[in-house]
């Protein structure tokens, strides 16, 4: 497990900040004003009724203006941290604060096939292989399905995705479903795996990723999922995806205000449905569409950092986004963007950091790219650790004993501590001849080899037969 946490001890480990507490307060007040003055449109009757009953002003059937007091009240009941478990019920992640965990993204249409080097439509087997690789990689903490399978009945593809995740890794799952019924089936499958609704609520290992049209426009499926999951006390992310310049202001502050107003509307709804329901907010903000290509840039430097600061200010667990690239290949751009985005997210302290291994702005994924990200995370884990300065680590006696002309290689102090230092697995440190003797490969080539090795050797813990059958029976 990646053990990365910014701000671990005051002034004793790296951390970063981009907006001040005063700026966060301005942003928060802007969200409250939008909710009271402009309001949101909620395309679900139960959601409208809940708000109305709680004192919101409802006009035009579904335009809901939410008083600030309701938001403030929601903050007093929502959990500030969520403990997630693995498939077997072991404690896996404490989501909140400055603790960082890493996972893949979901639903890439294409796979950059590591065997052929070609980009092609993804199939179910790609998800299975992706999950096996995730299960083996020590710095991938949770999984999303990675690919969209083109070879299963399309109206049920989300059920096949969920099944493939449950069958091929024990790591916690973040699932995406197209419609509400897919969400209900995914919960049924997760309940079968944990042994019932109560165990799943107490030891949640699956989080639903809910996407909302925009901050101010909440689609029916998103609201249905929010109310259903809140009612069951199960965790989910609530991520409005307004795009700056098109469905929100192009300015970072304006796009964030409009989007987080929607996040807060969702928060209010979740707490109205069930006080104490877990709720996860976005950890990136100020999205835009590239005004030349209309592509949504994932590795955009300007949407990073400030939303994590704002999440810490609000004190809620965050779903963040890094390890992704706009590149169409596993190339220099892909490595640079993956490294830079992961680096900034760990410095700021995002929580559930997803989309690791994404290429082509979320339209394709690559297993070698994921393996490279795993190595980057290993580097970052070493970088983010604080430094101990004490008698043993200063080693003044050893320095004096060895003196100016001696050497440390065979000293017991070196033997005790040389393993404390970081060593790469995939990055190359040999001298030129050494590298050449090993085949003179590039990072990308070594990553392909690593994927093949994992797929040949790693066998994830399978689900018991009867459980696997019951999971399949949910949708067949």
């Amino acid at each position: 497990m990646a053990n990365i946490c910014s701000h671990q001890q005051a002034l004793n480990s790296p951390y970063a900040g981009k907006v001040s507490e005063g700026q966060c307060q301005k942003l928060y007040w802007a969200c409250l004003e939008i909710l009271e003055r402009t309001g949101v449109s909620l395309h679900d009757q139960e959601a409208v009724d809940l708000c109305k009953k709680a004192g919101a002003l409802v006009t035009d059937g579904n335009r809901v203006r939410i008083p600030s007091g309701l938001v403030e009240k929601a903050f007093s009941t929502v959990p500030k941290s969520i403990t997630l478990y693995d498939r077997a019920g072991n404690r896996a992640m404490q989501v909140g604060g400055h603790r960082c965990y890493f996972g893949t993204g979901s639903d890439c249409l294409h796979l950059l096939d590591h065997r052929s080097g070609k980009r092609r439509r993804a199939v179910l087997k790609d998800i299975v292989e992706g999950m096996i690789v995730c299960d083996a990689l020590e710095n991938i903490d949770f999984v999303m399905c990675m690919f969209l399978p083109s070879d299963v009945p399309q109206e049920k593809l989300d059920r096949y995705e969920m099944e493939a995740m449950l069958n091929n890794t024990t790591k916690p799952v973040v699932y995406v479903t197209t419609e509400f019924f897919g969400c209900r089936d995914a919960v049924k499958m997760a309940e079968i795996v944990t042994g019932g609704a109560d165990t799943l609520r107490h030891n949640p290992f699956a989080v639903c990723y809910i996407n909302v049209t925009t901050g101010l426009r909440h689609n029916k499926e998103a609201l249905q999922k929010l109310l259903y999951l809140s009612g069951k006390g199960l965790p989910f992310t609530y991520i409005p995806s307004a795009q700056g310049g098109v469905t929100a202001p192009i300015t970072i502050a304006g796009a964030m205000a409009a989007n987080y107003a929607g996040v807060l509307a969702g928060l209010v709804l979740s707490q109205l449905k069930r006080e104490g329901a877990p709720f996860i907010i976005p950890g990136w903000g100020g999205n835009m569409l590239d005004m030349k290509t209309m592509v949504q840039p994932y590795a955009d430097p300007q949407k990073r950092g400030q939303a994590i600061d704002f999440g810490h200010y609000l004190g809620l667990p965050m779903f963040s986004l890094a390890g992704c690239s706009e590149s169409k290949l596993v190339d220099q751009q892909a490595a640079a963007e993956a490294a830079l985005t992961l680096y900034s997210d760990v410095l700021f302290g995002g929580n559930l950091i997803h989309d690791v291994g994404y290429l082509e702005s979320g339209l394709s994924g690559s297993l070698p790219q994921l393996v490279i990200c795993n190595e980057i995370l290993s580097w970052l884990e070493a970088f983010m650790k604080g430094i101990e300065i004490n008698e043993e680590t200063l080693a003044l006696d050893v320095i004096d004993e060895i003196g100016p002309d001696g050497q440390y290689l065979d000293h017991p102090h070196t033997a005790r501590h040389f393993r404390d230092r970081w060593y790469p697995k995939l990055f190359e440190r040999s001298n030129y001849d050494g590298w050449e003797n090993k085949g003179g490969s590039s990072l990308g080539e070594r990553a392909v080899g690593n994927v093949d090795k994992i797929l040949a050797e790693h066998k994830p813990e399978p689900l018991p037969d009867d459980i696997a059958k019951a999971v399949r029976a949910v949708f067949e």
């Binding site: 249409l109 399309q154 593809l157 689609n219 310049g245 469905t247 569409l289 005004m291 030349k292 209309m294």
Partner: protein, 211 residues
């Protein structure tokens, strides 16, 4: 017309007021409305389209150009003969059934209008019957269908089948687009063309109708 280049520049720069002034000046001086339209306004938008595809222009700039072009057309309107006033073609456009996303569709609509087409926008979540009805009523030349989701992408095929069974398929060209749509998929369902982005839609639409 001596002010063709300034007119083209004014459209490219999105200067609505200047476009109107130059158009009216031309009319006063006795220039042919059709020339102003074709050599000025439409020629300018062709340049804009090329620049957009080459990523030499930002989309908001393109939309300002389209708006300037429209202002020019409106100023010309009273002076155009029935023949001159003809649009490049009628486009019926909508998001596929079940799909509520409309960013891409709206962009194509604005660019098509800027490019000289007349566009009937059916909105989002459009049933095949609704496409059919609009094609019939407006005697459309092109049907544009957009989808963001792989699930709703499937319903594009239903529109083409509905056009076929109504005997209208030969009258219209079907243009499909959206993030999950590929050239292969467009061929598979029997669409006439696939647009990879909003920028290429206008060029493709013109090439479909005026080969």
């Amino acid at each position: 017309m001596d002010k063709i280049q300034p007119l083209i520049d004014a459209v490219i720069n999105g200067d609505e007021d200047k476009v109107k002034v130059i158009v009216l000046e031309g009319i006063t001086k006795g220039e042919k409305a059709a020339d102003i339209m074709n050599k000025g306004l439409i020629a300018a938008m062709d340049i804009v389209g090329g620049k957009m595809e080459a990523e030499d222009m930002f989309i908001p700039e393109v939309l300002m150009s389209a708006r300037a072009m429209k202002a020019g057309v409106n100023a010309l309107q009273p002076h155009l003969t029935k023949d001159d006033a003809k649009d490049l073609g009628v486009v019926v456009i909508g998001s596929a059934q079940g799909d509520l996303h409309d960013i891409g569709k709206n962009l194509v609509k604005m660019l098509m209008e800027g490019g000289g087409f007349s566009v009937i926008d059916l909105g989002t979540d459009v049933k095949p019957e609704k496409f059919l009805e609009a094609v019939r009523e407006n005697n459309a030349d092109i049907v544009g269908i957009s989808a963001l989701l792989t699930t709703t992408m499937l319903s594009m095929k239903n529109v083409i089948e509905a056009l076929e069974s109504a005997g209208l398929r030969d009258q219209v060209k079907v243009l499909v687009g959206g993030a999950p749509v590929t050239k292969e998929y467009a061929e598979e369902i029997g669409a006439d063309c696939y647009g990879a982005d909003a920028g290429s839609a206008v060029r493709i639409a013109k090439s479909l109708l005026y080969k």
